[in-house]
């Protein structure tokens, strides 16, 4: 039982990492460009498909990761330059609808190229085994690697925002865009770079997801809406909020799905627990969001 709890906790952490990769890009783009980008999930999907495709083509997992990351970055930049750039000055309604249109486009495009059926991508041998994380506790190597990647990315993000010139500009841009422009910084370029970073992070999340979940059209929106929950809980525009929110949501969702049914069956009849367990588990993070909002309407780490 303890082992199961430990394993599910790690799974929760691993899911939290993916949410974080998504949430970081989304919250940066919102915080700096004031853009609500629903199509962020599409970049996740594109990353997953490209990685799967490149792996089949090259036969090298590492090459497919590198290629997919680069390609998603390019797709993100193209989308920014072609469509989203004109949306920065528009209201949220326009942004939501236009990026909704982009989602329809991307989902259909993927369906045309790869079909609607789910793909399952495989792992190379060196990643598909289990490893000893604690004496007597074995955990899949790949998922452990995901957690590690997440921690590294979180650390890099932190360093970028607090230590680099880009991060300084990002923080300044978030609070005073005219000042940044007055300093002679090319705002357009800055925005494109930030969007590209966000896109690459989404692509990274997507390519990580490939071997764990089904790769299919519409996969981006499933996670996107959970990422919204992360951001609402954490506070929009806050990287710290995104980290905390992602871990909370990842844990609650994973542990809820694993343990709500057995826990409920202690209190309720088994058949009632069978029905209520999954239903409640799927609603858990939304109820958590409502509870957080009731106490803190601006999320846990409000910006400004």
């Amino acid at each position: 039982m303890i082992l199961l709890v430990l394993e599910q906790t790690l799974n929760g952490l691993q899911y939290g990492v993916m949410l974080l990769l998504m949430a970081a890009g989304l919250t940066l783009v919102f915080g700096i460009m004031n853009l609500v980008n629903l199509a962020h999930g599409s970049l996740y999907m594109v990353g997953a498909y490209l990685a799967t495709g490149f792996y089949q083509w090259t036969g090298s997992f590492l090459a497919s990761v590198a290629l997919a990351l680069a390609a998603t970055l390019v797709v993100g930049i193209v989308v920014e330059v072609v469509a989203l750039r004109t949306l920065y000055e528009r209201d949220h309604l326009d942004q939501v609808l236009a990026t909704f249109g982009l989602i329809l486009f991307f989902n259909e495009l993927i369906a045309i190229v790869w079909g609607r059926a789910a793909l399952y991508s495989s792992l190379p041998g060196w990643l598909s085994g289990h490893m000893q994380v604690l004496p007597g506790v074995r955990y899949p190597v790949y998922r452990a690697l995901v957690i590690l990647v997440g921690l590294v990315v979180a650390a890099l993000l932190y360093l970028m925002v607090t230590r680099t010139r880009l991060g300084m500009l990002i923080r300044a841009g978030a609070s005073n865009r005219t000042m940044v422009a007055a300093l002679g910084v090319n705002i357009r370029l800055l925005y494109t770079v930030v969007f590209g970073v966000g896109a690459a992070l989404a692509g990274l999340a997507g390519l990580i997801a490939g071997p764990i979940y089904a790769v299919q059209p519409g996969m981006g929106e499933q996670i996107l809406i959970q990422v919204f929950v992360v951001i609402v809980i954490g506070g929009i525009g806050s990287i710290r909020g995104a980290v905390v929110g992602a871990v909370i949501v990842g844990m609650v969702d994973t542990l809820g799905r694993a343990f709500l049914k057995p826990v409920l069956s202690i209190v309720l009849s088994p058949s009632a627990a069978d029905t209520a367990g999954p239903a409640l588990a799927s609603m858990l993070i939304y109820m958590l969001m409502a509870a957080v909002l009731a106490v803190r309407p601006q999320g846990l780490f409000p910006v400004r």
Binding site: D94, V96, L97, L104, A279, M289, A290, L293, Q298
Partner: protein, 315 residues
């Protein structure tokens, strides 16, 4: 008023809708009764959204939730052998009003992008709830054994009778909407959309008015959901899928946000377009997506903007 281009358009539109069953009969194309009934049902949903979106400035990305609640109210009661339409539709309206009250109470406290994300998230929650309840078909959904029954009034199995009932409800809601937005209540929510700090400074507490509008809108959309499940004779959580919310919102923009006729026009054009495009290719959404982007970027006033209007104050 009576002779403005928009009033003429409205009159022509109503006349046209009223004649659809006759034309379908003459042309021997009963399919059109079905299509235009579907259009009117979505017109009601879009109209209900525009009340809070266009007039109240509340960007709800979760209006499909109420469509779903209304549909489930009918489907679930039928599943348990209660086919009485009065009861079913009352529950549809009441249930969606209550859900709107709960969602609105949390989300209206926030604003802007939070509001969008929260309404979307709660709708997704209801969608997952629908999927996970196997008793009512889970993600496959379930057939509606019989349409809602209104003994002594009318029989929904009669396609034409059902059609005119939907038309009647649509016209009623257009009238109610017209009165509501011009009444004191409507003036308050429009003022709050225009400039909320100013509305507060002159003494209005916008929250109560916005929440009330949100509930009214949800209840209207709930009735549209009850109609929709009778139309399709199939109950499915897909009614609550988040893309449905996006489509309803697009209907509002396409037709003309902040007008009453716009959503009706938008629903008609959207669904006809879907009908034509999907007959042409299964991948019709690859055309719809960019079309949507173009409409947002270049045609913000919607189709109704093509019809001149005496400068309507306080849009």
């Amino acid at each position: 008023m009576a002779r403005s281009p928009r009033a003429l358009t409205l009159a022509a539109g109503v006349l046209m809708l009223a004649l659809v069953p006759v034309a379908a009969e003459l042309l021997d194309q009963p399919f059109y009764v079905d299509l235009f009934r579907r259009i009117m049902i979505f017109a009601i949903a879009a109209l209900s959204l525009d009340l809070i979106l266009g007039y109240g400035g509340m960007v709800s990305f979760g209006h499909a939730a109420y469509l779903g609640i209304g549909a489930y109210a009918v489907g679930v009661l039928t599943h348990h052998g209660i086919a009485n339409g009065y009861l079913q539709w009352s529950l549809a309206i009441l249930g969606s009003a209550l859900v709107a009250l709960a969602i609105g109470a949390v989300s209206i406290r926030t604003s802007g992008v939070y509001f969008i994300m929260i309404t979307l998230a709660f709708t997704q929650m209801l969608y997952y709830l629908g999927i996970s309840i196997e008793e009512y078909g889970g993600d496959d959904g379930m057939r509606l054994a019989v349409r809602s029954q209104f003994p002594g009034l009318l029989d929904l199995r009669n396609a034409t009778a059902f059609y005119y009932l939907v038309l009647g409800i649509l016209l009623l809601f257009l009238l109610l909407g017209q009165r509501l937005v011009d009444a004191r209540f409507g003036m308050v929510i429009r003022a709050a959309r225009s400039n909320e700090p100013r509305a507060r400074a002159i003494g209005f507490s916008p929250y109560r008015y916005k929440l009330t509008a949100f509930v009214i809108s949800g209840a209207m959309c709930g009735l549209a959901g009850a109609l929709l499940v009778n139309q399709t004779e199939y109950l499915t959580p897909e009614f609550m899928h988040w893309t449905r919310s996006g489509e309803i919102m697009f209907m509002v923009i396409l037709g003309g946000i902040g007008t009453l006729m716009g959503p009706v026009l938008g629903a008609a054009v959207f669904l006809l377009l879907e009908d034509v495009l999907s007959a042409w290719t299964v991948h019709w959404q690859i055309i719809l997506g960019p079309f949507l982007v173009l409409v947002v970027l270049f045609a913000k006033k919607g189709l109704i903007g093509l019809v001149p209007d005496e400068a309507a104050p306080g849009g």
